[in-house]
Symmetry: none
DNA sequence: TATAATATACTCATTTATTAGCATAAATAT
DNA sequence: ATATTTATGCTAATAAATGAGTATATTATA
């Protein structure tokens, strides 16, 4: 396979923006669309990007998310949320990133930070952060959850207990109007409890679609969070609940 | 300027910019393109940069390489070694797979087994095995080694100690004629000792090119292995050593 | 559903980069 | 001082990337 000077930069742009467009890359590099298309095709052949009409998006690094969810808006929203979240995190500190595609986006946004120690139970985050040698990456042990690459169970909790974090970024499967943070797996409850206990600042990062989802396991309550990063003003009951419990809402 | 002074600067520029162009370096150093090309070729031969048409980019570590490319990369002999190795492992048992691309090939060959519990400190193995729901996958914790996606250090050892394995498959960076099994990282020593200690049967899987490699850390000795899976008859001193220590050699 | 507007895949000519072999000049060793 | 190694530059042949034209596929719109 041919390698070119442009490919790493295309991937970099995709990581920052969540997506790339053929037109955008044409302007950026000053080459013709067919050249860009050729390279996007090659990047998609190797699995580094995923081709869509008009451009390409980051492959959902999670293992089985539907095509539609990866496209366009959702991913762009996630990148915006992730950027705001990463802005609140300084260099030279310790961070925990847990499961969820939003925390993966946060990982990408942290690539420009320095002197970080990042611990994660999300196996997809490891290759993202591996590109920056200034970030020490620790993966917790655990049983692999196929649906999203999460590492769960007692092994994960054991590892988390051995650290203290300056910041923790929590993702979730669903949000309930009464303030509950939900996951589809009961095993994640113990992990999130431990994370919150070991962390000075706890952030929740979740896009507004999570309010329309259902999930069985309550892993935490938004009152335990310091900041909730999201894309749209949450439903009034949830927003009021946040206000009453000193949880800041940060819109992007 | 002498060549020895130019090379570090080229690498420096590449680290800052992510890439270097032949033309750019020609302007920068005031030499001809062929001089630059020669040096880029040397830097690419030593693995410090990756040559591309028009310049060079930072080498993509195995971590960054796309999934399908990684699969295609596996040479036929590695697959053959892996197949023989997987044939010796029954269904319904517990297995440890450690670092190395050969153990990744073994993982692929295990996909048709059933009722396996696979524990690994190789992060690349998780997505391979995730495709078969009949295999329970456990990832050890540990510090991420960027060069190959290995999880190393005390966290990994802690996890390994909590299991007993029916089979362990060991990979390595290099093999020495006197029977020593070598890795480039001293931290892997503890892990491999623990693996051997916890396992009923220990297999070494390594292609013959490992005899031509050098690595500093002795992680084990082939006398501790039950079977050595490889593609060609090893050098006579090594073969004799195996014979004297009841280590079976299995050629593919 | 039909139609228009984009976007894409494919092939081939053109441009550009690369390799290889040889010549020259500087640095080092004998 | 002379030979030898090493770095560099030149030219021609080779290889690779690019861009243009055209046919096809996809998405948007009436």
């Amino acid at each position: 396979m041919a390698q070119t000077l442009r490919k790493p930069e295309i991937i970099g742009i995709a990581r920052r923006e969540g997506k790339v467009t053929v037109d955008g890359l044409v302007d950026h590099f000053g080459v013709t669309p067919q050249t860009i298309r050729r390279e996007l095709k090659e990047l998609s052949d190797t699995g580094e990007l995923e081709r869509v009409h008009g451009g390409a998006v980051l492959p959902s690094t999670t293992m089985n998310i539907g095509y539609s969810e990866r496209l366009g808006m959702k991913q762009a929203d996630k990148v915006d949320i992730a950027r705001k979240c990463a802005e609140e995190i300084p260099s030279n500190c310790s961070i925990f990133l847990n499961i969820g595609t939003t925390t993966e986006a946060v990982a990408s946004e942290l690539l420009n930070h320095e002197g970080l120690l990042v611990v994660t139970n999300n196996i997809n985050i490891a290759p993202i952060l591996a590109t920056n040698p200034n970030i020490e990456v620790v993966v917790t042990g655990g049983n692999l959850r196929r649906s999203d690459g999460g590492l769960i169970g007692d092994l994960a909790i054991q590892t988390i207990k051995q650290f203290r974090f300056d910041y923790a970024v929590i993702g979730c499967s669903a949000l309930h109007e009464d303030g509950d943070i939900l996951d589809f797996d009961i095993q994640e409850v113990g992990a999130s409890k431990t994370i919150i206990q070991q962390s000075k600042h706890v952030f929740l990062a979740a896009d507004s679609s999570k309010f329309e989802r259902r999930a069985p396991a309550k892993i935490a309550n938004v009152s335990e969070m310091d900041i909730f990063f999201t894309d749209k003003t949450p439903p009034p009951p949830f927003a009021n609940f946040c206000k009453n419990h000193d949880t800041q809402i940060q819109l992007s």
